[in-house]
């Protein structure tokens, strides 16, 4: 039992961590937390099932289209819900605009795809067993994203530009960096990561429109606990969250596991509003 708690915990935790990273990538580029993070995860599952199961596309093509779809939705988010409110005096409009967009897509999925959870295709037909692909695919995706992001941020000039905008967008603009285009690129990247989370976790979470608010909530917990903008913190907190949730699931049952997770989340936030690791990006006075 311990083994299955750990396996499923790490798998679910990887999905939460990836949604957390999705939040972070968007936040770094714009200082905006977007409600669309969980919606992206939902889209990854629904689009994957749509392309591969319903349309019968080859898995590789379906996968690519899912990533592209996520990236496009990321760009739409930037254009429709983020850019118009960034310069507004009213600071919190982004909460409303991204919420509106997230609801629109979620409802669209409910209407066009249906409100029932539908199966997600088996991606690789390897032998089923304890160490099933539905567990290790999310973990693999999480590792791939983390390694990829590290390489991007460390070794490419566009990654450096992302970091520059995250640290001091004003200075980056004054230096002549194409801030708007970089922000769009960040949102496209975040979109692809979010869709990947839903795709890799498709067998676990199924293709279900209701995953959107669920992932929006559980994916934000790693961000809040790991420190905003801090990807490593998000991954660590996401995995912990997954393990805790699965353990509580086995010990006290599903519903009260959610209650336990929620209680811990609120208490930790109230005690440490900046997250467990403290503020990640300190601004100079």
């Amino acid at each position: 039992m311990l083994q299955s708690i750990i396996l499923s915990g790490l798998a679910i935790g990887s999905i939460y961590a990836l949604i957390g990273v999705t939040y972070n990538v968007m936040f770094s580029a714009s200082r905006v937390f977007s409600f669309t993070a969980g919606t992206l995860g939902m889209l990854g599952g629904v689009l994957g099932s749509l392309f591969i199961t319903r349309y019968g596309m080859p898995i590789a093509i379906g996968f690519l289209l899912v990533l592209i779809g996520g990236a496009i939705f990321g760009i739409i988010t930037e254009i429709l819900a983020v850019r118009p409110v960034l310069r507004s005096i009213e600071q919190h409009l982004y909460v409303l605009s991204t919420l509106a967009l997230a609801l629109m897509v979620q409802q669209l999925a409910a209407i066009e795809w249906g409100t029932d959870a539908r199966p997600f295709p088996r991606l690789l037909d390897l032998a089923r067993g304890d160490f099933d692909q539905q567990y290790w695919l999310p973990m693999l995706a999480c590792i791939a994203v983390i390694v990829g992001l590290e390489l991007l941020y460390r070794h490419t000039i566009i990654g450096h530009a992302f970091l520059a905008i995250a640290e001091d967008a004003y200075a980056a603009r004054a230096l002549g960096l194409p801030e708007r285009r970089l922000r769009m690129a960040s949102f496209a990247l975040a979109g692809a990561i979010g869709a990947l989370a839903g795709f890799a976790g498709g067998e676990l979470l199924l293709a279900f429109f209701g995953n959107a608010p669920m992932l929006t909530f559980y994916g934000f917990i790693p961000v809040a606990l790991g420190g905003m903008g801090n990807n490593r913190g998000a991954v660590a907190a996401g995995l912990l969250l997954g393990l805790f949730q699965q353990a509580a699931n086995f010990e006290v049952g599903g519903i009260f596991a959610s209650v336990a997770v929620f209680a811990v989340f609120i208490i930790v936030l109230l005690v440490r509003p900046e997250g467990l690791s403290g503020g990640a990006l300190q601004r100079r006075v």
Binding site: L163, D168, Y170, A171, A174, L175, G176, E179
Partner: protein, 257 residues
């Protein structure tokens, strides 16, 4: 408050090379933050290769003027740079036109290495030119060239300021706007920065210098503008003998007493 007595005799101070088109020509510029008007009808000219000091008391709008010219703030009026109309241009486009703005407070990217900070300044340049341009800028600042692989967070305030100036130079600008490069620096480091400015002038780069250290700025500059209460209140060549008194009057608006 009548300030007419402090009004400069503008016609007498017209630049001698009036035949040549000025490099930067600002006419009737007005800008501000939202409802707050900061500058009203600012006129200012900078010729190619000239060092101009922009002085003025706190809150006069010096930083705001630089921000407007480089496209960081929206403005109305007319600004041309090297024959290009700057109306509506983004900071990126003004940089591409050859106008570099080193903002106040040496805000370099502390998470990145010195070299990467400079490479970012070369973001829009062709890939193969980037590192040669970076080396060219670094050559002016040996003290940060030796730390090129360290993160900018590890630099002292003065070194960060040098890095910021070097970032501005990577694009080989025709006009470099420096906003209080001496702020927070020790006198020795200030002199180092000013030596670089002098060398830039020798190389033909025009410099617009906003500075609190008036005497040093005057020693370096060819001409000076003073900004007070949102408008230019004085324009003079630094060689004019009664400049300090006139500046004081322009600043404190005490000319009427």
């Amino acid at each position: 408050m009548p300030i007419s007595a402090a009004e400069p005799p503008r016609s007498a101070a017209e630049p001698p090379r009036s035949a040549a088109e000025p490099l930067l020509d600002v006419a009737g510029l007005a800008t501000g933050y939202g409802k707050i008007g900061v500058l009203h009808a600012v006129d200012l000219k900078i010729n190619a290769g000239e060092v101009v000091a922009l002085l003025g008391p706190n809150g006069a709008g010096k930083t705001t003027l630089l921000r407007a010219v480089s496209g960081l703030l929206p403005w109305t009026g007319r600004v041309t740079f090297a024959g290009i109309d700057l109306a509506g241009l983004s900071p990126r486009e003004t940089v591409q036109a050859g106008l570099a703005h080193v903002i106040e407070g040496h805000r370099v990217f502390t998470q990145l290495a010195v070299l990467d900070n400079l490479l970012l300044a070369a973001y829009d340049l062709p890939r193969r030119e980037r590192s040669s341009r970076v080396e060219e800028a670094l050559a002016l600042f040996p003290e940060i060239a030796t730390k090129r692989h360290e993160r900018a967070a590890a630099l002292s305030g003065g070194q960060q300021q040098m890095l910021a100036v070097a970032q501005g130079l990577v694009r080989r600008p025709r006009l470099l706007m420096l906003d209080e490069p001496s702020a927070g620096l020790s006198p020795v480091l200030v002199d180092r920065v000013f030596v670089v400015v002098r060398r830039l002038r020798e190389a033909g780069t025009a410099v617009l210098l906003v500075e609190q250290l008036i005497e040093k700025a005057l020693a370096l500059a060819d001409r000076v503008y003073a900004l007070a209460r949102g408008a230019i209140v004085l324009e003079a060549k630094t060689s004019e003998p009664d400049l300090p008194t006139r500046l004081e009057h322009a600043y404190l608006a005490t000319a009427r007493t």
